[in-house]
């Protein structure tokens, strides 16, 4: 350990090297932030991110998803190693991507169609590219993308990512004829990973994905050639999510500035009623009065402190309508129920969808199902399946808001639900912005607004469970009741006859008959 230190003043020879790095470079260096930390986890994340992109690509256009995933081993497999090289190929029947956007959509980080206010699975627009980037840095091979929007042609690109520049390099491009008007996208590339270790999580992920996407057909062929097929249960699909305007509660100064600079409005009244969610002329007028802003003010001439003032007023004004959930695409009671039935085969099921609600200006809807019996095992707690925007959340259940509500927020005895009953709860949150705690999309933060909705939903389904359980008990009860009288009344007659020293035992048949007739009213 040295003892000399610079303490005083004087020139410091700053020999630091300052530089800019590209987003691709940043995520290349810190890929564990996005779930690509080791061969096992990276393989799981790659499959997951690609599948979610494919589902989004179908759903936004109301196409019943048919998705095929194939994972196959490449090269030697003799040695026992930490990781092997696999070829992953995923094909969907989604909307396809216009040819001019294909290279960037797969070869440029922070490029895509996902940066809009609507409910999609991928929130960060990162995952698919991270999978390809990870394949490239582990195998140094390019990726093949084939896509068509369903017109006469399909396009095939061979690309690699220039990480330093964050740009796609197109190594080859082909145009194929597409007579059958196929639409969709195929992604095909090599990556290192360890399927043997990743398998349980991959399969659980696919199983639960099928549960909340019962209108999707997903096939998966694993490296040993085994086929897993998750069949479509329904042809009904929820409405595709729509894009929405920002709600005033969720606005900050930067957003207002952006809206102003893109706006063609020249007065505040028009401006307010054009660019915000749930603000019409009337609300705009009332708000401007509240905020003491003149209707005629030109938004383009607002100065800094005026913009700050507007944002503050937006947060404190109490009379905006809450966000409208028309932009959301929940599963709905029937679809969620169908999914649960298919996966858990329960004896009883009840699903509830809450009315839309909002946090920080983002609308959300909570759907909760409860199921009893069937394939659900009896366990000491309640089994929980968590979903957000139709993707299953597998990891870190203990930190999740739904688990917290189940364990701490509900008095289960009130619902006559004892431990060790075969009960599962399925919770689904959909929102234009799900408040994940990590880029890995593993668990949901405990926002009070969301907690309140989940609790209300669980209480409702628990009530139905109580009704089911008590009806189940009642039938059993009535049978036992009649048996009881038939067994004991003759004995009362016998013993009291003996005790009284009489000979003839009284006739109790009329009494027993009356029990059968009026019994139910007696208890």
């Amino acid at each position: 350990m040295s003892t000399k230190t610079t303490r005083g003043k004087g020139k410091v020879s700053n020999n630091e090297e300052y530089r800019e790095i590209s987003p691709a470079d940043f995520f290349y260096r810190n890929r564990d932030l996005a779930g690509f930390s080791n061969p096992t986890r990276s393989l799981y994340s790659a499959i997951r991110e690609l599948l979610e992109n494919s589902l989004d690509a179908c759903e936004l256009y109301k196409i019943l998803p048919n998705i095929h995933i194939r994972l196959s081993l490449e090269g030697d497999t003799e040695d026992v190693k930490d990781s092997y090289t696999y070829r992953i190929r995923i094909m969907d029947n989604g909307s396809g991507i216009p040819p001019e956007h294909i290279p960037s959509s797969f070869g440029q980080i922070l490029f895509g169609s996902k940066y809009r206010l609507r409910q999609v699975r991928g929130t960060f627009g990162l995952g698919g590219k991270m999978a390809i980037l990870y394949g490239q840095i582990t195998t140094n091979t390019p990726a093949t993308i084939i896509s068509s929007v369903g017109n006469g042609k399909s396009y095939e690109f061979l690309i690699r990512i220039d990480i330093l520049k964050n740009k796609p390099e197109v190594l080859n491009k082909k145009v194929h004829k597409n007579k059958i008007a196929w639409h969709g996208t195929i992604v095909d590339f090599l990556l290192d990973g360890n399927y043997v270790r990743a398998m349980p999580r991959v399969l659980e992920y696919l199983r639960q994905t099928a549960l909340v996407n019962p209108y999707a057909e997903i096939t998966f062929i694993d490296p040993s050639g085994r086929l897993y097929k998750f069949e479509r249960v329904t042809f009904v699909m929820p409405e595709p999510p729509k894009e929405t305007l920002p709600h005033p509660y969720g606005c900050d100064v930067e957003l207002i500035r952006r809206i102003i600079s893109a706006s063609k409005c020249t007065d505040m009244l028009t401006f307010m009623s054009t660019h915000f969610h749930r603000i019409g002329k009337k609300t705009a007028q009332r708000f401007l009065t509240y905020a003491k802003i003149k209707k005629k003010t030109n938004p383009h001439k607002l100065n800094s402190s005026e913009i700050v003032h507007i944002v503050q007023m937006m947060k404190t004004y109490g009379d905006f309508l809450p966000p409208d959930a028309s932009c959301l695409s929940p599963l709905g009671k029937d679809l969620l129920g169908a999914g649960i039935k298919k996966e858990l085969n329960p004896e009883f099921i009840h699903v509830e969808q809450r009315k839309p609600s909002a946090y920080s200006g983002f609308p959300f809807i909570v759907e909760v199902g409860i199921a009893y019996g069937g394939d659900i095992p009896a366990s000491s707690g309640i089994i929980l399946y968590r979903f957000a925007n139709k993707i299953p959340l597998i990891y870190d259940e203990a930190s999740d808001i739904s688990r917290k509500v189940i364990n701490e927020g509900i008095n289960w005895r009130y619902y006559k639900i004892a431990p060790n009953l075969p009960i599962a709860i399925i919770s689904h949150i959909c929102s234009t912005k799900v408040p994940y705690m990590t880029v890995g999309k593993e668990f949901i933060a405990d926002r009070p607004e969301i907690e309140r909705e989940i609790k209300a939903a669980i209480k409702t389904v628990a009530r139905y469970m109580r009704i089911f359980l008590s009806r189940k008990n009642r039938i059993e009860h009535e049978r036992k009741r009649i048996d009881l009288f038939a067994r004991y009344l003759p004995k009362v007659a016998k013993f009291s006859t003996e005790l009284a020293g009489k000979k003839k035992i009284p006739d109790i048949e009329p009494l027993l008959r009356s029990i059968r007739r009026y019994g139910k009213k007696e208890d």
């Binding site: 004991y488 009291s496 006859t497």
Partner: protein, 383 residues
């Protein structure tokens, strides 16, 4: 050998003779008469149910409620009694059909027992029921039905020849006459066996003939009972000694009452110096809430002799700290009407201040005869 025995026996003879000269008058109560009344009551109980059935009614029973709210403390009787609230048990009610059946069976079983002059334990009842297909879930249930029968008929289970397991013992100059089959008319003096005699069905149903004792000392612990026999305390204090072995069974409480009433002997109760010892004493004196439906168990004239909390200090007895549960018990006692008089009230306060408790065996610290030479004389003198 025979000769030797004669000599020895003769020495005993004199002692007994000497005792006889001072024997007390006994207010004798015939045990036989009581038995007859019991049988009559049982028969008429059967008759009531039989008539209900004959009229086409679901058989029903009415009896005083034993719920907490109906257990009252009778300040005049100095014991718990049942209030005026009654409960009806109808066999029409799904919840009552089973207990009503069990109650009738228990009555008919008790009737048979008494007819044949046999006794039965509470556990025997539990098992016997199975043969008649009126099984009890557990012994708690059968015990409870027996209490119901007591409440309905106003007789204690001992009257039906149903006894708990024996634990209590007696020793002292009292001559009894048995009424049990095979021993009818036999007499026995209770000093005969210096380890003590079990208070069982035979003793409970015996008549008291004569005594030279002038008091009863009731002792919670076996060690102290043996000590007092060994140190000849029964002679020194002219006492009949009774060992309760903790909270006394009801048959023992009845014996204490009978000794007090029939022989007119004062009763002194000697327990551990802690709330549980006090509870034993008060149960003997005032009865317990559990047996509020029975009248002939309490001995209101009996006196609590110790250990007082103040004794622990005064005699510097080895003691241990009161536990949380002890303190809780003492606090509850302050609300209990049985403890409002002296010395209870003062001692409860003393316990709570001093915060120590003490067992009877603690007297051993000062030598095995200390309790007889020092404590008991002082205490009896003061009471």
């Amino acid at each position: 050998m025979a000769k030797k025995r004669i000599k020895r026996q003769s020495s005993k003879k004199k002692r007994i003779k000497r005792q006889s000269s001072k024997k007390k008058r006994i207010k004798r109560q015939s045990m036989k008469k009581r038995k007859e009344m019991t049988l009559k009551k049982l028969r008429s109980f059967g008759g009531v149910l039989y008539n209900q059935l004959n009229k086409g009614e679901f058989p029903w029973i009415e009896m005083p409620s034993r719920s907490t709210s109906n257990i009252l403390y009778d300040d005049r009787l100095k014991q718990y009694i049942l209030g005026k609230k009654h409960v009806k048990r109808s066999s029409r009610n799904i919840r009552h059909i089973r207990p009503v059946t069990q109650l009738v069976w228990t009555a008919s079983f008790a009737y048979t027992l008494n007819k044949q002059g046999k006794t039965s334990t509470l556990r025997d009842i539990f098992y016997s029921a199975q043969a008649f297909d009126v099984p009890f879930k557990n012994q708690q249930e059968s015990d409870n039905i027996i209490t119901d029968l007591e409440t309905v008929l106003g007789f204690a289970r001992e009257d039906f020849n149903i006894f708990p397991e024996e634990r209590s013992q007696i020793f002292g100059d009292l001559t009894i006459e048995y009424t049990v089959p095979g021993y009818e008319g036999n007499s026995l003096n209770l000093t005969t066996h210096p380890d003590g005699l079990a208070i069982g069905p035979a003793l409970t149903t015996s008549d008291f003939k004569s005594t030279k004792a002038n008091k009863i000392i009731v002792i919670e612990k076996g060690a102290m009972f043996t000590r007092l026999i060994e140190e000849k305390a029964f002679k020194k204090f002219k006492a009949i000694l009774i060992h309760t072995a903790g909270q006394p069974p009801r048959s023992t409480r009845r014996i204490i009452r009978r000794l007090n009433k029939e022989l007119g002997l004062p009763v002194y109760i000697f327990c551990d110096g802690d709330p549980w010892g006090m509870a034993i004493a008060i149960t003997i004196i005032c009865g317990s809430a559990n047996a509020a439906h029975l009248k002939e168990l309490a001995t209101p004239e009996a006196k609590w002799m110790g250990l007082y909390s103040s004794d622990i200090q005064k005699y510097k007895l080895p003691s241990t700290k009161l536990k949380v549960i002890d303190i809780k018990r003492l606090r509850d006692m302050r609300k209990d009407p049985r403890y409002i008089a002296k010395p209870w009230k003062t001692q409860i306060t003393h316990f709570l201040q001093n915060k120590r408790k003490c067992e009877l065996e603690a007297f051993s610290r000062y030598g095995l005869d200390y309790v007889v030479k020092k404590y008991l004389p002082e205490k009896l003198n003061r009471l």
